[in-house]
């Protein structure tokens, strides 16, 4: 087994494991805000699997598609987490900004 095969196995295995943990994490958490913490790691899994495809195929059409998919997942995971959290907050309270009784105290020195 060559070093390339080992690298591919490690990258793809790690990527699939991260995705699996994210899926079970989403099912295990209590509310939407806790579940959102597992959307971010899914981008890491996409990055690992994309890297595995690149290592296996090199500069090719499927390698380019893997790069595009990984880049899209990394670029949009933070955006979609913010959009969903904002929408959930608005649906609960009518506004996404802090209410007076929720303000955090800042201690001045």
């Amino acid at each position: 087994m060559s070093a390339q095969h080992v690298a591919v196995d490690v990258l793809v295995g790690a990527g699939a494991t991260v995705e699996l943990i994210a899926c079970f994490g989403v099912a295990a958490m209590r509310d939407a805000y806790d579940r959102l913490h597992f959307v971010g790691p899914s981008a890491l899994g996409a990055l690992l699997i994309g890297a595995g495809v690149i290592v296996r195929s090199g500069p090719s059409i499927i390698g380019l598609k893997a790069v595009l998919i990984a880049a899209f997942a990394v670029g949009t995971s933070g955006v979609i987490a913010h959009v969903i959290a904002r929408a959930a907050r608005i649906s609960e309270t009518g506004d996404w900004t802090l209410r007076p009784n929720e303000a955090t105290k800042v201690e001045e020195e």
């Binding site: 699996l20 099912a27 509310d31 969903i84 608005i90």
Partner: protein
């Protein structure tokens, strides 16, 4: 046909769709939206590893289209969630 790491990864990713589906069915709108967004990413990656494992390029095209449409669909659903108060 021998089972490769690509097939094993595809099976693991498809297993991951189960919990996402459970959340979509059993929980509320916001929780289901989070789960469906994650499921879109996972399904796209499953198509990508299947494309590599089976040497079928069209699956990778589907993966690329799916991840883009999943993002757009989640944005639209988030808009509905905002107005569902």
């Amino acid at each position: 046909m021998s089972v490769t790491i690509w097939h094993l990864a595809a099976i693991a990713l498809l297993v991951g769709l189960g919990p996402c589906g459970w959340v979509c069915v059993r929980r509320g709108f916001a929780e289901g939206l989070v789960a469906s967004q994650l499921a879109g990413t996972v399904a796209a990656l499953a198509l990508l590893v299947l494309a590599q494992g089976e040497v079928r390029q069209p699956f990778a095209d589907l993966a690329l289209i799916l991840i883009v449409l999943s993002f757009v669909g989640s944005l639209v659903a988030a808009r509905f969630l905002e107005e569902s108060r």
